[in-house]
Symmetry: C2
Subunit: 322 residues, 2 copies
Protein backbone atom coordinates (compact mmCIF):
# COMPACT_ATOMS: atom_id res chain seq x y z
CA UNK A 1 0.00 0.00 0.00
CA UNK A 2 1.24 3.46 -0.91
CA UNK A 3 1.14 5.96 1.91
CA UNK A 4 1.82 9.69 2.15
CA UNK A 5 4.59 11.48 4.01
CA UNK A 6 2.05 12.44 6.71
CA UNK A 7 0.84 8.82 7.05
CA UNK A 8 4.41 7.65 7.47
CA UNK A 9 5.09 10.31 10.10
CA UNK A 10 1.88 9.42 11.96
CA UNK A 11 2.77 5.70 12.01
CA UNK A 12 6.27 6.49 13.30
CA UNK A 13 4.79 8.68 16.04
CA UNK A 14 2.34 5.96 17.14
CA UNK A 15 4.77 3.08 17.39
CA UNK A 16 8.20 2.35 18.92
CA UNK A 17 11.23 0.02 18.86
CA UNK A 18 12.27 0.41 15.24
CA UNK A 19 14.80 -1.58 13.24
CA UNK A 20 16.00 0.47 10.26
CA UNK A 21 17.38 -1.57 7.35
CA UNK A 22 19.90 -0.38 4.74
CA UNK A 23 20.70 -2.03 1.39
CA UNK A 24 23.67 -4.25 0.68
CA UNK A 25 26.88 -2.62 -0.61
CA UNK A 26 25.66 0.46 1.26
CA UNK A 27 26.09 3.89 -0.33
CA UNK A 28 25.83 7.42 1.03
CA UNK A 29 22.08 7.65 0.53
CA UNK A 30 21.02 4.47 2.35
CA UNK A 31 23.48 5.23 5.17
CA UNK A 32 22.84 8.97 5.45
CA UNK A 33 19.06 8.60 5.23
CA UNK A 34 18.90 5.76 7.78
CA UNK A 35 21.09 7.63 10.27
CA UNK A 36 19.02 10.81 9.89
CA UNK A 37 15.82 8.86 10.50
CA UNK A 38 17.28 6.97 13.46
CA UNK A 39 18.55 10.18 15.07
CA UNK A 40 15.22 11.93 14.54
CA UNK A 41 13.30 9.01 16.07
CA UNK A 42 15.66 8.87 19.06
CA UNK A 43 15.25 12.65 19.51
CA UNK A 44 11.49 12.25 20.05
CA UNK A 45 12.03 9.48 22.61
CA UNK A 46 11.68 6.42 20.38
CA UNK A 47 14.05 3.48 20.42
CA UNK A 48 15.67 2.77 17.06
CA UNK A 49 18.73 1.09 15.61
CA UNK A 50 20.21 0.59 12.17
CA UNK A 51 21.24 -2.68 10.51
CA UNK A 52 24.12 -2.36 8.04
CA UNK A 53 25.81 -5.12 6.03
CA UNK A 54 29.04 -4.78 7.98
CA UNK A 55 30.76 -1.90 9.72
CA UNK A 56 30.39 1.50 8.05
CA UNK A 57 32.77 2.03 5.12
CA UNK A 58 35.63 4.24 6.28
CA UNK A 59 34.53 7.43 4.60
CA UNK A 60 31.11 7.21 6.27
CA UNK A 61 32.44 6.62 9.79
CA UNK A 62 31.38 10.12 10.91
CA UNK A 63 27.76 9.02 10.63
CA UNK A 64 28.23 6.55 13.49
CA UNK A 65 28.34 9.21 16.21
CA UNK A 66 25.05 10.72 15.11
CA UNK A 67 23.00 7.93 16.70
CA UNK A 68 22.98 6.30 20.15
CA UNK A 69 23.43 2.57 20.44
CA UNK A 70 20.20 1.17 21.79
CA UNK A 71 19.36 -2.41 22.59
CA UNK A 72 15.73 -3.54 22.63
CA UNK A 73 13.47 -6.19 21.18
CA UNK A 74 12.76 -5.41 17.53
CA UNK A 75 9.13 -4.52 17.02
CA UNK A 76 8.73 -2.60 13.75
CA UNK A 77 10.84 -2.93 10.62
CA UNK A 78 11.63 0.00 8.30
CA UNK A 79 13.56 -0.21 5.01
CA UNK A 80 15.36 2.90 3.77
CA UNK A 81 16.47 3.32 0.14
CA UNK A 82 15.90 -0.39 -0.57
CA UNK A 83 14.15 -0.92 -3.93
CA UNK A 84 13.60 -4.65 -3.50
CA UNK A 85 13.96 -7.35 -0.83
CA UNK A 86 16.69 -8.97 -2.94
CA UNK A 87 18.85 -5.99 -1.96
CA UNK A 88 18.69 -6.80 1.75
CA UNK A 89 22.12 -7.66 3.16
CA UNK A 90 22.62 -11.18 4.54
CA UNK A 91 22.35 -10.05 8.15
CA UNK A 92 18.89 -8.62 7.41
CA UNK A 93 17.55 -11.78 5.74
CA UNK A 94 15.54 -12.50 8.90
CA UNK A 95 13.42 -9.40 8.19
CA UNK A 96 12.40 -10.55 4.69
CA UNK A 97 8.60 -10.37 4.38
CA UNK A 98 8.39 -8.41 7.61
CA UNK A 99 9.11 -4.85 6.40
CA UNK A 100 6.26 -2.61 7.54
CA UNK A 101 7.39 0.72 6.16
CA UNK A 102 9.56 1.24 3.08
CA UNK A 103 10.89 4.75 2.46
CA UNK A 104 12.41 5.06 -0.98
CA UNK A 105 12.90 7.01 -4.22
CA UNK A 106 13.74 4.29 -6.77
CA UNK A 107 11.68 4.14 -9.96
CA UNK A 108 11.99 0.36 -9.75
CA UNK A 109 10.73 -0.08 -6.16
CA UNK A 110 8.80 -3.35 -6.02
CA UNK A 111 6.45 -2.27 -3.20
CA UNK A 112 7.35 -5.28 -1.07
CA UNK A 113 6.50 -3.61 2.24
CA UNK A 114 3.15 -3.36 4.04
CA UNK A 115 3.31 0.42 3.59
CA UNK A 116 5.40 2.19 0.95
CA UNK A 117 6.28 5.86 1.13
CA UNK A 118 7.99 6.41 -2.21
CA UNK A 119 8.78 9.54 -4.22
CA UNK A 120 10.00 8.27 -7.55
CA UNK A 121 11.11 11.68 -8.82
CA UNK A 122 13.27 12.44 -5.79
CA UNK A 123 16.98 12.37 -6.62
CA UNK A 124 17.82 10.85 -3.24
CA UNK A 125 15.98 8.96 -0.53
CA UNK A 126 17.28 11.71 1.76
CA UNK A 127 14.74 14.09 0.20
CA UNK A 128 11.91 11.78 1.30
CA UNK A 129 13.36 11.26 4.80
CA UNK A 130 13.80 15.05 5.12
CA UNK A 131 10.07 15.48 4.53
CA UNK A 132 9.12 12.69 6.94
CA UNK A 133 11.30 14.12 9.72
CA UNK A 134 9.76 17.54 9.13
CA UNK A 135 6.23 16.07 9.25
CA UNK A 136 7.20 14.15 12.38
CA UNK A 137 8.07 17.45 14.06
CA UNK A 138 11.40 15.98 15.20
CA UNK A 139 14.35 18.29 15.61
CA UNK A 140 16.41 18.76 12.46
CA UNK A 141 19.74 19.69 13.99
CA UNK A 142 23.18 20.10 12.46
CA UNK A 143 24.02 16.41 12.72
CA UNK A 144 20.75 15.17 11.24
CA UNK A 145 21.25 17.73 8.46
CA UNK A 146 24.76 16.35 7.80
CA UNK A 147 23.37 12.79 7.53
CA UNK A 148 20.76 13.93 5.02
CA UNK A 149 23.27 16.02 3.07
CA UNK A 150 25.45 12.92 2.74
CA UNK A 151 22.58 11.11 1.03
CA UNK A 152 21.69 14.06 -1.16
CA UNK A 153 25.16 14.82 -2.45
CA UNK A 154 26.27 11.21 -3.03
CA UNK A 155 23.14 10.22 -4.97
CA UNK A 156 23.47 13.28 -7.25
CA UNK A 157 27.26 13.17 -7.81
CA UNK A 158 27.48 16.50 -5.95
CA UNK A 159 24.43 17.90 -7.74
CA UNK A 160 25.76 17.01 -11.19
CA UNK A 161 23.44 14.20 -12.31
CA UNK A 162 20.36 14.73 -14.41
CA UNK A 163 18.15 13.61 -11.49
CA UNK A 164 18.62 16.96 -9.71
CA UNK A 165 15.39 18.97 -9.33
CA UNK A 166 14.47 22.22 -7.62
CA UNK A 167 13.37 20.10 -4.63
CA UNK A 168 16.87 18.61 -4.43
CA UNK A 169 18.48 22.05 -4.39
CA UNK A 170 15.91 23.49 -1.97
CA UNK A 171 16.51 20.60 0.42
CA UNK A 172 20.28 21.13 0.13
CA UNK A 173 19.83 24.86 0.84
CA UNK A 174 17.75 24.08 3.95
CA UNK A 175 20.39 21.60 5.18
CA UNK A 176 23.18 24.16 4.72
CA UNK A 177 21.01 26.66 6.63
CA UNK A 178 20.69 24.11 9.42
CA UNK A 179 24.47 24.08 9.69
CA UNK A 180 25.45 20.87 7.94
CA UNK A 181 29.09 20.85 6.96
CA UNK A 182 28.61 20.62 3.20
CA UNK A 183 32.22 21.57 2.52
CA UNK A 184 33.73 18.79 4.62
CA UNK A 185 31.25 16.20 3.44
CA UNK A 186 31.78 17.00 -0.26
CA UNK A 187 35.54 17.01 0.21
CA UNK A 188 35.42 13.60 1.87
CA UNK A 189 33.03 12.13 -0.70
CA UNK A 190 34.47 13.58 -3.91
CA UNK A 191 37.97 14.88 -3.33
CA UNK A 192 39.63 12.10 -1.40
CA UNK A 193 41.68 9.54 -3.30
CA UNK A 194 43.67 6.54 -2.16
CA UNK A 195 47.23 6.05 -3.42
CA UNK A 196 45.94 2.95 -5.18
CA UNK A 197 43.22 4.94 -6.94
CA UNK A 198 45.73 7.49 -8.21
CA UNK A 199 47.94 4.66 -9.46
CA UNK A 200 45.19 2.73 -11.26
CA UNK A 201 43.80 5.95 -12.74
CA UNK A 202 47.19 6.83 -14.17
CA UNK A 203 47.58 3.35 -15.65
CA UNK A 204 44.06 3.33 -17.10
CA UNK A 205 44.43 6.81 -18.66
CA UNK A 206 47.66 5.68 -20.32
CA UNK A 207 45.74 2.97 -22.22
CA UNK A 208 43.18 5.28 -23.83
CA UNK A 209 43.00 4.77 -27.58
CA UNK A 210 40.96 6.77 -30.03
CA UNK A 211 39.15 5.24 -33.00
CA UNK A 212 36.91 6.43 -35.82
CA UNK A 213 38.51 9.86 -35.99
CA UNK A 214 38.23 10.40 -32.23
CA UNK A 215 34.53 9.57 -31.97
CA UNK A 216 35.26 6.37 -30.02
CA UNK A 217 37.60 6.13 -27.02
CA UNK A 218 38.56 2.82 -25.40
CA UNK A 219 40.17 2.45 -21.97
CA UNK A 220 41.50 -0.73 -20.37
CA UNK A 221 41.64 -1.87 -16.74
CA UNK A 222 43.60 -5.12 -16.74
CA UNK A 223 44.26 -7.65 -13.97
CA UNK A 224 47.91 -6.74 -14.22
CA UNK A 225 47.11 -3.07 -13.55
CA UNK A 226 44.94 -3.99 -10.58
CA UNK A 227 47.74 -6.07 -9.14
CA UNK A 228 50.45 -3.48 -9.73
CA UNK A 229 48.39 -0.61 -8.29
CA UNK A 230 46.95 -2.62 -5.41
CA UNK A 231 43.53 -1.13 -6.19
CA UNK A 232 40.32 -3.03 -5.49
CA UNK A 233 36.90 -2.71 -7.10
CA UNK A 234 35.79 0.10 -4.78
CA UNK A 235 38.65 2.23 -6.06
CA UNK A 236 37.44 2.07 -9.65
CA UNK A 237 34.33 4.17 -8.94
CA UNK A 238 33.63 6.71 -11.65
CA UNK A 239 36.66 5.73 -13.70
CA UNK A 240 34.66 4.21 -16.54
CA UNK A 241 32.95 7.55 -17.10
CA UNK A 242 36.22 9.21 -18.14
CA UNK A 243 36.56 8.21 -21.85
CA UNK A 244 33.16 9.73 -22.67
CA UNK A 245 34.13 13.08 -21.06
CA UNK A 246 36.75 13.68 -23.74
CA UNK A 247 35.84 16.31 -26.32
CA UNK A 248 34.62 14.84 -29.57
CA UNK A 249 34.09 11.37 -28.09
CA UNK A 250 30.58 10.05 -28.76
CA UNK A 251 31.18 6.53 -27.39
CA UNK A 252 33.40 5.81 -24.39
CA UNK A 253 34.18 2.13 -23.78
CA UNK A 254 35.91 0.72 -20.71
CA UNK A 255 37.09 -2.90 -20.80
CA UNK A 256 37.72 -4.35 -17.37
CA UNK A 257 39.47 -7.67 -17.12
CA UNK A 258 38.09 -10.01 -14.45
CA UNK A 259 39.43 -13.41 -13.38
CA UNK A 260 38.67 -16.50 -15.46
CA UNK A 261 38.73 -14.80 -18.85
CA UNK A 262 35.75 -12.59 -18.18
CA UNK A 263 35.65 -9.04 -19.55
CA UNK A 264 33.27 -6.52 -18.02
CA UNK A 265 32.38 -3.82 -20.53
CA UNK A 266 31.06 -0.42 -19.59
CA UNK A 267 29.77 1.96 -22.26
CA UNK A 268 28.89 5.66 -21.95
CA UNK A 269 27.63 7.48 -25.00
CA UNK A 270 26.14 10.60 -26.46
CA UNK A 271 22.67 9.13 -26.79
CA UNK A 272 21.86 11.30 -29.82
CA UNK A 273 24.67 9.61 -31.78
CA UNK A 274 24.79 6.05 -30.40
CA UNK A 275 22.59 4.22 -27.94
CA UNK A 276 24.74 2.53 -25.29
CA UNK A 277 21.87 0.13 -24.69
CA UNK A 278 21.83 -0.91 -28.35
CA UNK A 279 25.60 -1.37 -28.51
CA UNK A 280 25.66 -3.45 -25.32
CA UNK A 281 22.67 -5.56 -26.34
CA UNK A 282 24.69 -6.75 -29.36
CA UNK A 283 26.94 -8.43 -26.78
CA UNK A 284 24.18 -9.77 -24.56
CA UNK A 285 24.03 -6.81 -22.23
CA UNK A 286 21.86 -3.71 -21.95
CA UNK A 287 21.27 -0.47 -20.13
CA UNK A 288 20.00 2.99 -20.97
CA UNK A 289 20.50 5.21 -24.01
CA UNK A 290 23.51 6.95 -22.46
CA UNK A 291 25.00 4.19 -20.30
CA UNK A 292 25.14 0.45 -20.62
CA UNK A 293 27.17 -2.64 -19.90
CA UNK A 294 27.79 -6.21 -20.95
CA UNK A 295 29.96 -9.19 -20.09
CA UNK A 296 32.16 -10.82 -22.74
CA UNK A 297 33.62 -14.30 -22.33
CA UNK A 298 36.03 -16.31 -24.47
CA UNK A 299 37.63 -13.30 -26.19
CA UNK A 300 40.99 -11.68 -25.63
CA UNK A 301 41.03 -8.01 -24.70
CA UNK A 302 42.19 -7.14 -28.22
CA UNK A 303 39.45 -9.18 -29.86
CA UNK A 304 36.78 -7.65 -27.65
CA UNK A 305 38.12 -4.17 -28.33
CA UNK A 306 38.07 -4.70 -32.10
CA UNK A 307 34.53 -6.12 -32.01
CA UNK A 308 33.18 -3.34 -29.77
CA UNK A 309 34.81 -0.58 -31.82
CA UNK A 310 33.48 -2.05 -35.08
CA UNK A 311 29.96 -2.30 -33.66
CA UNK A 312 30.07 1.25 -32.29
CA UNK A 313 31.33 2.54 -35.65
CA UNK A 314 28.43 0.83 -37.42
CA UNK A 315 25.87 2.47 -35.14
CA UNK A 316 27.53 5.88 -35.43
CA UNK A 317 27.65 5.66 -39.24
CA UNK A 318 24.06 4.48 -39.42
CA UNK A 319 22.87 7.44 -37.36
CA UNK A 320 24.99 9.78 -39.45
CA UNK A 321 23.29 8.57 -42.64
CA UNK A 322 19.84 8.57 -41.05
Amino acid sequence: MSITIEDAAAWLRENDNYIILTHKAPDGDTLGSSHALCRALQSIGKRARIVTECGLPRKFLYLEQTVSEQSFDAEHIIAVDIADESLLPKNAEQYRGRVELCIDHHESNSCYAAACCIERNAAACAEVVFKIITALGAELDRQTASCLFTGLTTDTGCFRYSNVTAQTMNTAARLVELGCDSYKINKLMFETNSKQRIAIEQMALSTIEYHDGGRIAVMLVTLDMLEKSGADDSELEGLSAVPRTIEGVAVGITIRQKPEGILKISVRSDETLCSANRLCSLFGGGGHAAAGGCVIKDMTVDEAKARLVAAAEDILNENKRG
Copy 2:
Protein backbone atom coordinates in the same frame (compact mmCIF):
# COMPACT_ATOMS: atom_id res chain seq x y z
CA MET B 1 30.61 54.91 -2.31
CA SER B 2 28.91 51.70 -1.21
CA ILE B 3 25.37 51.30 -2.40
CA THR B 4 22.62 48.76 -1.73
CA ILE B 5 21.04 46.29 -4.11
CA GLU B 6 17.98 48.55 -4.30
CA ASP B 7 20.11 51.63 -5.07
CA ALA B 8 21.87 49.74 -7.84
CA ALA B 9 18.54 48.60 -9.30
CA ALA B 10 17.13 52.15 -9.11
CA TRP B 11 20.18 53.58 -10.91
CA LEU B 12 19.91 50.93 -13.64
CA ARG B 13 16.22 51.74 -14.08
CA GLU B 14 16.87 55.49 -14.39
CA ASN B 15 19.67 55.37 -16.96
CA ASP B 16 20.37 53.70 -20.32
CA ASN B 17 23.11 52.74 -22.81
CA TYR B 18 25.22 50.51 -20.60
CA ILE B 19 28.66 49.07 -21.26
CA ILE B 20 29.22 46.01 -19.06
CA LEU B 21 32.86 45.16 -18.38
CA THR B 22 34.26 41.72 -17.52
CA HIS B 23 37.68 40.93 -16.06
CA LYS B 24 40.69 39.72 -18.01
CA ALA B 25 41.22 35.97 -18.35
CA PRO B 26 37.44 35.74 -18.00
CA ASP B 27 35.89 32.95 -15.93
CA GLY B 28 32.37 31.61 -15.62
CA ASP B 29 31.33 34.13 -12.97
CA THR B 30 32.34 37.34 -14.76
CA LEU B 31 30.89 35.98 -18.05
CA GLY B 32 27.72 34.44 -16.61
CA SER B 33 26.96 37.44 -14.39
CA SER B 34 27.55 40.01 -17.15
CA HIS B 35 25.40 38.12 -19.64
CA ALA B 36 22.58 37.76 -17.08
CA LEU B 37 22.70 41.48 -16.32
CA CYS B 38 22.85 42.43 -20.00
CA ARG B 39 19.90 40.19 -20.86
CA ALA B 40 17.86 41.54 -17.95
CA LEU B 41 18.57 45.15 -18.95
CA GLN B 42 17.67 44.44 -22.57
CA SER B 43 14.45 42.76 -21.41
CA ILE B 44 13.27 45.99 -19.77
CA GLY B 45 14.04 48.01 -22.90
CA LYS B 46 17.52 49.26 -22.06
CA ARG B 47 20.45 49.15 -24.44
CA ALA B 48 23.44 47.23 -23.15
CA ARG B 49 26.48 45.37 -24.41
CA ILE B 50 29.32 43.40 -22.88
CA VAL B 51 33.06 43.94 -23.34
CA THR B 52 35.15 40.76 -23.08
CA GLU B 53 38.90 40.36 -23.49
CA CYS B 54 38.51 38.40 -26.70
CA GLY B 55 35.84 36.07 -28.04
CA LEU B 56 34.15 33.86 -25.45
CA PRO B 57 36.21 30.79 -24.48
CA ARG B 58 34.75 27.79 -26.27
CA LYS B 59 32.98 26.24 -23.31
CA PHE B 60 31.12 29.49 -22.63
CA LEU B 61 29.92 30.01 -26.21
CA TYR B 62 26.32 29.18 -25.24
CA LEU B 63 26.18 32.46 -23.31
CA GLU B 64 26.52 34.45 -26.52
CA GLN B 65 22.99 33.74 -27.73
CA THR B 66 21.45 35.00 -24.49
CA VAL B 67 22.01 38.67 -25.42
CA SER B 68 21.24 40.75 -28.50
CA GLU B 69 24.02 42.62 -30.23
CA GLN B 70 23.31 46.29 -29.81
CA SER B 71 25.29 49.21 -31.13
CA PHE B 72 24.97 52.59 -29.42
CA ASP B 73 27.13 55.32 -27.90
CA ALA B 74 28.44 54.21 -24.53
CA GLU B 75 26.94 56.25 -21.74
CA HIS B 76 27.26 54.39 -18.45
CA ILE B 77 29.97 51.94 -17.48
CA ILE B 78 29.36 48.91 -15.23
CA ALA B 79 32.03 46.49 -13.97
CA VAL B 80 30.95 42.95 -13.06
CA ASP B 81 33.09 40.66 -10.87
CA ILE B 82 36.13 42.96 -11.25
CA ALA B 83 37.94 43.46 -7.92
CA ASP B 84 40.33 46.14 -9.17
CA GLU B 85 40.93 48.27 -12.27
CA SER B 86 44.21 46.46 -12.84
CA LEU B 87 42.06 43.46 -13.82
CA LEU B 88 40.45 45.25 -16.75
CA PRO B 89 41.35 43.63 -20.08
CA LYS B 90 43.33 45.73 -22.57
CA ASN B 91 40.31 46.48 -24.72
CA ALA B 92 38.60 48.04 -21.68
CA GLU B 93 41.53 50.30 -20.71
CA GLN B 94 39.62 53.27 -22.12
CA TYR B 95 37.06 52.85 -19.31
CA ARG B 96 39.62 53.11 -16.51
CA GLY B 97 38.51 55.78 -14.03
CA ARG B 98 35.07 55.89 -15.62
CA VAL B 99 33.34 52.93 -13.97
CA GLU B 100 30.13 54.19 -12.40
CA LEU B 101 28.74 50.98 -10.93
CA CYS B 102 30.82 48.05 -9.73
CA ILE B 103 28.95 44.85 -8.88
CA ASP B 104 31.20 42.36 -7.10
CA HIS B 105 31.75 39.82 -4.32
CA HIS B 106 35.54 39.86 -3.84
CA GLU B 107 36.86 40.44 -0.33
CA SER B 108 39.70 42.42 -1.92
CA ASN B 109 37.55 44.81 -4.00
CA SER B 110 39.34 48.18 -4.07
CA CYS B 111 36.16 50.28 -4.44
CA TYR B 112 37.47 52.01 -7.54
CA ALA B 113 34.02 52.80 -8.96
CA ALA B 114 31.76 55.78 -8.26
CA ALA B 115 29.21 53.38 -6.74
CA CYS B 116 30.05 49.93 -5.41
CA CYS B 117 27.46 47.23 -4.83
CA ILE B 118 29.52 44.52 -3.16
CA GLU B 119 28.57 41.49 -1.08
CA ARG B 120 31.83 40.18 0.26
CA ASN B 121 30.35 36.98 1.69
CA ALA B 122 28.68 35.94 -1.56
CA ALA B 123 30.35 32.90 -3.12
CA ALA B 124 29.81 34.26 -6.63
CA CYS B 125 29.08 37.63 -8.20
CA ALA B 126 26.09 35.85 -9.73
CA GLU B 127 24.41 35.91 -6.29
CA VAL B 128 24.64 39.71 -6.25
CA VAL B 129 23.45 40.07 -9.85
CA PHE B 130 20.54 37.70 -9.08
CA LYS B 131 19.41 40.07 -6.33
CA ILE B 132 19.82 43.17 -8.50
CA ILE B 133 17.80 41.64 -11.36
CA THR B 134 15.10 40.67 -8.86
CA ALA B 135 15.04 44.21 -7.40
CA LEU B 136 14.97 45.61 -10.93
CA GLY B 137 11.79 43.64 -11.57
CA ALA B 138 13.24 42.34 -14.84
CA GLU B 139 12.18 38.95 -16.11
CA LEU B 140 14.27 36.08 -14.81
CA ASP B 141 13.72 33.57 -17.56
CA ARG B 142 15.35 30.22 -18.30
CA GLN B 143 18.24 31.77 -20.21
CA THR B 144 19.04 34.44 -17.63
CA ALA B 145 18.88 31.69 -15.00
CA SER B 146 21.37 29.62 -17.02
CA CYS B 147 23.80 32.57 -17.20
CA LEU B 148 23.59 33.06 -13.42
CA PHE B 149 23.92 29.33 -12.74
CA THR B 150 27.11 29.33 -14.82
CA GLY B 151 28.59 31.96 -12.48
CA LEU B 152 27.37 30.23 -9.36
CA THR B 153 28.62 26.74 -10.16
CA THR B 154 32.01 27.76 -11.58
CA ASP B 155 32.92 30.03 -8.66
CA THR B 156 32.03 27.30 -6.14
CA GLY B 157 33.61 24.33 -7.94
CA CYS B 158 30.11 22.88 -8.34
CA PHE B 159 29.13 23.78 -4.78
CA ARG B 160 32.22 22.15 -3.29
CA TYR B 161 34.28 25.10 -2.05
CA SER B 162 34.15 26.43 1.50
CA ASN B 163 32.62 29.70 0.23
CA VAL B 164 29.20 28.04 -0.25
CA THR B 165 26.48 29.46 2.01
CA ALA B 166 22.75 28.89 2.38
CA GLN B 167 22.27 31.91 0.09
CA THR B 168 24.36 30.17 -2.60
CA MET B 169 22.23 27.03 -2.41
CA ASN B 170 18.96 28.98 -2.22
CA THR B 171 19.94 30.94 -5.31
CA ALA B 172 20.86 27.71 -7.11
CA ALA B 173 17.51 26.19 -6.13
CA ARG B 174 15.63 29.22 -7.49
CA LEU B 175 17.60 29.05 -10.76
CA VAL B 176 16.79 25.35 -11.18
CA GLU B 177 13.14 26.21 -10.49
CA LEU B 178 13.35 28.82 -13.24
CA GLY B 179 14.37 26.08 -15.64
CA CYS B 180 18.12 26.60 -15.99
CA ASP B 181 19.82 23.52 -17.40
CA SER B 182 22.03 22.75 -14.41
CA TYR B 183 22.82 19.27 -15.69
CA LYS B 184 24.16 20.40 -19.06
CA ILE B 185 26.04 23.36 -17.60
CA ASN B 186 27.74 21.27 -14.91
CA LYS B 187 28.61 18.59 -17.45
CA LEU B 188 30.20 21.16 -19.73
CA MET B 189 32.05 22.93 -16.92
CA PHE B 190 33.25 19.97 -14.90
CA GLU B 191 33.02 16.80 -16.95
CA THR B 192 34.50 17.76 -20.28
CA ASN B 193 38.16 17.04 -20.94
CA SER B 194 40.36 17.64 -23.97
CA LYS B 195 42.54 14.79 -25.28
CA GLN B 196 45.52 16.93 -24.27
CA ARG B 197 44.22 17.26 -20.71
CA ILE B 198 43.79 13.50 -20.38
CA ALA B 199 47.33 13.00 -21.70
CA ILE B 200 49.00 15.55 -19.41
CA GLU B 201 47.00 14.30 -16.42
CA GLN B 202 48.19 10.77 -17.04
CA MET B 203 51.80 11.93 -17.34
CA ALA B 204 51.60 14.10 -14.22
CA LEU B 205 49.99 11.35 -12.12
CA SER B 206 52.78 8.97 -13.14
CA THR B 207 55.35 11.32 -11.53
CA ILE B 208 53.75 11.43 -8.06
CA GLU B 209 56.28 10.59 -5.36
CA TYR B 210 55.57 10.18 -1.67
CA HIS B 211 57.90 11.41 1.06
CA ASP B 212 57.98 11.50 4.85
CA GLY B 213 55.97 8.30 5.21
CA GLY B 214 53.30 9.45 2.77
CA ARG B 215 52.64 12.81 4.44
CA ILE B 216 54.12 14.71 1.49
CA ALA B 217 53.28 14.09 -2.18
CA VAL B 218 55.12 15.77 -5.06
CA MET B 219 53.90 15.90 -8.64
CA LEU B 220 55.77 17.23 -11.70
CA VAL B 221 54.58 18.97 -14.84
CA THR B 222 57.61 19.34 -17.09
CA LEU B 223 58.12 21.21 -20.37
CA ASP B 224 58.68 17.86 -22.00
CA MET B 225 55.28 16.62 -20.78
CA LEU B 226 53.57 19.78 -22.04
CA GLU B 227 55.16 19.32 -25.44
CA LYS B 228 54.38 15.60 -25.69
CA SER B 229 50.76 16.04 -24.60
CA GLY B 230 50.15 19.22 -26.58
CA ALA B 231 48.45 20.71 -23.50
CA ASP B 232 48.50 24.43 -22.78
CA ASP B 233 48.15 26.29 -19.49
CA SER B 234 44.35 26.34 -19.60
CA GLU B 235 44.37 22.53 -19.63
CA LEU B 236 46.20 22.30 -16.31
CA GLU B 237 43.27 23.74 -14.34
CA GLY B 238 42.70 21.93 -11.06
CA LEU B 239 45.54 19.48 -11.63
CA SER B 240 47.75 20.89 -8.87
CA ALA B 241 45.02 20.12 -6.33
CA VAL B 242 45.37 16.36 -6.91
CA PRO B 243 48.39 15.41 -4.70
CA ARG B 244 46.68 16.87 -1.61
CA THR B 245 43.52 14.79 -2.22
CA ILE B 246 45.43 11.58 -1.56
CA GLU B 247 44.67 9.90 1.77
CA GLY B 248 47.31 10.58 4.40
CA VAL B 249 48.89 13.43 2.44
CA ALA B 250 49.21 16.62 4.51
CA VAL B 251 51.25 18.59 1.96
CA GLY B 252 50.73 18.33 -1.81
CA ILE B 253 53.38 20.00 -3.94
CA THR B 254 53.19 20.52 -7.70
CA ILE B 255 56.32 21.63 -9.53
CA ARG B 256 55.63 23.12 -12.93
CA GLN B 257 58.51 23.76 -15.27
CA LYS B 258 58.30 27.02 -17.22
CA PRO B 259 60.65 28.27 -19.94
CA GLU B 260 63.98 29.88 -19.01
CA GLY B 261 64.69 27.75 -15.97
CA ILE B 262 61.72 28.97 -13.96
CA LEU B 263 59.79 26.60 -11.71
CA LYS B 264 56.29 27.50 -10.61
CA ILE B 265 55.45 25.81 -7.32
CA SER B 266 51.92 25.21 -6.10
CA VAL B 267 51.28 23.95 -2.57
CA ARG B 268 48.04 22.62 -1.03
CA SER B 269 48.07 21.54 2.57
CA ASP B 270 46.11 20.42 5.58
CA GLU B 271 46.34 23.76 7.35
CA THR B 272 46.24 22.14 10.79
CA LEU B 273 49.50 20.30 10.03
CA CYS B 274 51.43 22.66 7.74
CA SER B 275 50.71 26.20 6.57
CA ALA B 276 51.10 26.40 2.79
CA ASN B 277 51.68 30.13 3.20
CA ARG B 278 54.58 29.53 5.57
CA LEU B 279 56.16 26.88 3.36
CA CYS B 280 55.90 29.08 0.26
CA SER B 281 57.17 32.18 2.04
CA LEU B 282 60.44 30.31 2.71
CA PHE B 283 60.88 30.41 -1.07
CA GLY B 284 59.80 34.01 -1.58
CA GLY B 285 56.14 33.23 -2.22
CA GLY B 286 52.99 33.25 -0.12
CA GLY B 287 49.30 32.46 -0.02
CA HIS B 288 46.80 31.19 2.51
CA ALA B 289 47.02 28.54 5.22
CA ALA B 290 45.73 25.80 2.91
CA ALA B 291 47.02 26.95 -0.50
CA GLY B 292 50.08 28.86 -1.61
CA GLY B 293 52.61 29.29 -4.36
CA CYS B 294 56.08 30.48 -5.15
CA VAL B 295 58.50 30.80 -8.05
CA ILE B 296 61.94 29.16 -7.91
CA LYS B 297 64.78 30.15 -10.25
CA ASP B 298 68.26 28.74 -10.73
CA MET B 299 67.46 25.27 -9.38
CA THR B 300 66.94 22.01 -11.20
CA VAL B 301 63.64 20.23 -10.67
CA ASP B 302 65.38 17.68 -8.45
CA GLU B 303 67.04 20.35 -6.30
CA ALA B 304 63.79 22.26 -5.89
CA LYS B 305 61.96 19.04 -5.00
CA ALA B 306 64.53 18.13 -2.34
CA ARG B 307 64.49 21.63 -0.82
CA LEU B 308 60.69 21.85 -0.76
CA VAL B 309 60.28 18.37 0.73
CA ALA B 310 62.88 19.11 3.44
CA ALA B 311 61.19 22.39 4.34
CA ALA B 312 57.74 20.77 4.45
CA GLU B 313 59.10 17.95 6.66
CA ASP B 314 60.52 20.52 9.07
CA ILE B 315 57.19 22.31 9.42
CA LEU B 316 55.30 19.02 9.82
CA ASN B 317 57.72 17.79 12.50
CA GLU B 318 57.62 21.10 14.33
CA ASN B 319 53.83 21.03 14.50
CA LYS B 320 53.92 17.40 15.61
CA ARG B 321 56.16 18.29 18.54
CA GLY B 322 54.20 21.47 19.31
